[in-house]
């Protein structure tokens, strides 16, 4: 078998891989106070698609991911992976955070193997595959290094490969490049896009950066301020293989302006509401 699942045909792609049906999440603060974070969220992410979730800071983006990853049972509604109901089930989708969360006492290779170790997979096979992925994605030669000797971009790549090693068809990326400098960020976006085209994983990507969402996604979902609902769904009119020059398309610039206005309105309305920011 090849290292990446590159044998997916385009025809097989258009099945919903992740489906959310009327998902709502609220937290009970005390007896008579509850905070609604997500309200009636429904969407599909097709197999092998790239979906961005765009929303103002402080909306329930991370809560949404925690729910899909099974870390948080929904208050109402259902989450499906393919045909399977996965409410509250962990270990089925890959999850990557803004922080690289590499363990400082493990070498880069051992960090990439962490998930496979937890799931009790064959060590030799996993290691061979991890080395192959490292070679392919620019981490060759750093296998034995401690993470702190890697640059921010390389650490995020290692964190991504760690997620990828788990062979989950769905990957949730929660602002993975949010802590990187602008230059590194751009090259990481290009890198991720390439990996996605290669691997045909289903990616759901959280960001509050309009440009990032338009460059990466096929579909952009815009969330409102809390309680978050989907207020806009956009198909990005760009081909699968992209370059930064395309960001100058008239259509893209129009979309960009529209999305900025939408986000500004949402974060302004957020500031007039309760100021306590929980579960960003």
């Amino acid at each position: 078998m090849s290292v990446l699942n590159s044998d997916f045909s385009l025809a097989a792609r258009r099945n919903a891989k992740i489906r959310l049906e009327n998902l709502s999440i609220s937290f009970k603060m005390d007896e008579n106070k509850r905070v609604d974070v997500l309200e009636d969220i429904s969407f599909d992410a097709d197999e092998g698609s790239f979906t961005c979730i765009l929303g103002p800071s402080g909306c329930g983006k991370s809560t949404l991911f925690n729910a899909i990853a099974g870390l948080l049972p929904p208050t109402a509604g259902n989450i499906y992976l393919g045909d399977r109901l996965i409410n509250g089930k962990t270990g089925l989708v890959g999850y990557m955070f803004q922080k690289d969360l590499l363990l400082p006492w493990r070498s880069v290779l051992e960090n990439i193997l962490l998930g496979t170790e937890i799931q009790g997979r064959d060590r030799a096979k996993s290691e061979a595959r991890a080395r192959e992925l490292m070679r392919r994605y620019g981490l060759e030669g750093f296998e034995a290094y401690y993470p702190k000797y890697l640059s921010g971009g390389m650490r995020q790549r290692a964190a991504f490969l760690r997620t990828m090693m788990l062979d989950n068809e769905v990957m949730l990326l929660d602002e993975p490049f949010g802590a990187l400098d602008a230059q590194t960020r751009l090259s990481m976006q290009e890198w991720l896009h390439e990996v996605w085209r290669d691997s045909k994983k289903t990616i759901i990507f959280i960001t509050h950066d309009v440009d990032e969402s338009l460059f990466l996604a096929e579909k952009v979902l815009v969330l409102s301020h809390r309680p978050s609902r989907i207020i806009q769904t956009i198909q990005v009119p760009l081909p699968e293989k992209r370059s930064y020059e395309m960001m100058g398309n008239v259509e893209i610039i129009k979309l960009r302006t529209e999305l900025f206005a939408l986000l500004r309105r949402e974060s302004d309305s957020g500031q007039t509401e309760s100021p306590n920011g929980m579960g960003k």
């Binding site: 969360l101 493990r106 070498s107 799931q119 401690y146 702190k148 000797y149």
Partner: protein
């Protein structure tokens, strides 16, 4: 850290020179002011006596070292165990917390005589005194290290489907390791003091007992020789603990590349 030979000298030389200067000043002052030996013997005299009495000092040192090592071992195990218990059970943590603090406010020296009455004139009171001193920093630091773990790391492992035990073993325990080694360095130094004090309370053997006897007989040079040996012992134990720490947490000690046992094996 990859220090060059030159910069290594730069760090070692100043303390060495200062120490040599102080000893020389002591030697010269003793000669100059003609201080009687029973009040303050000269360093050269202490060294001479230490060499002359090496057999007896060696024997006493062996006894004290045994107390230190056994006491440290018991204190380490108890301290580590208590930290685990407190980490895994909130109820037991609440119950144990005051007792652990009280154990440190009761002067261990005062407990000594009662331990001798209970356990007899043997090694056990000394082991217990040392263990009482050792366990506290270990419990406090191990516990702190276990809870100091980044909660996002735990979320990450949970998202991978990790069990409570896997999270403990793969994240929380290694995260506590630097805390444990640092507590051990403190504890091993204190444990030498603990053993000496415990010998004062009830023993006719060991460096502490020897210090007390020579002091009573105003054999001051021998007393100083024993103090000298005690302090050397503490220093050596500290450096052993330091060396073990360097081996256990290389990622904090400037190691760039992880050298696992396997990679050593595959190379040879």
């Amino acid at each position: 850290m990859a220090t060059t030979a030159e910069s290594k000298w730069k760090t070692i030389l100043p303390p060495l020179l200062l120490l040599a200067g102080l000893i020389a000043a002591w030697e010269l002052a003793s000669l100059w002011f003609n201080i009687p030996e029973y009040l303050l013997p000269r360093p050269s005299r202490i060294v001479t006596v230490a060499i002359l009495k090496r057999a007896i000092l060696w024997r006493h040192m062996g006894i004290t070292l045994e107390e230190v090592l056994l006491g440290f071992l018991v204190g380490f195990i108890v301290g580590f165990g208590l930290a685990l218990v407190m980490f895994f059970s909130t109820t037991l943590r609440r119950a144990l917390n005051p007792i652990i603090v009280i154990s440190q406010t009761v002067p261990v020296v005062a407990l000594g005589p009662i331990l001798v009455i209970w356990l007899g004139y043997n090694i056990w009171p000394k082991i217990i005194v040392v263990a009482l001193i050792v366990f506290f920093p270990l419990t406090v630091n191990t516990f702190d290290g276990l809870i100091a773990c980044d909660p996002d790391l735990i979320t990450l492992l949970r998202s991978m489907g990790a069990s409570r035990w896997q999270i403990f073993r793969k994240v929380q325990l290694p995260n506590a390791l630097p805390f444990i080694t640092s507590a051990s360095k403190v504890a091993v130094t204190f444990s030498v003091i603990g053993a000496v004090v415990a010998e004062w309370i009830g023993s006719d053997r060991g460096l502490g007992a020897y210090i007390l006897q020579t002091n009573a007989q105003i054999r001051t040079p021998e007393m100083f020789a024993a103090i000298f040996v005690t302090s050397i012992m503490g220093i050596i134990l500290f450096f052993i603990a330091q060396a073990i720490e360097n081996l256990l947490i290389p990622w904090q000690k400037g190691g760039k590349v992880k050298r696992s046992i396997q990679s050593y094996l595959s190379r040879s």
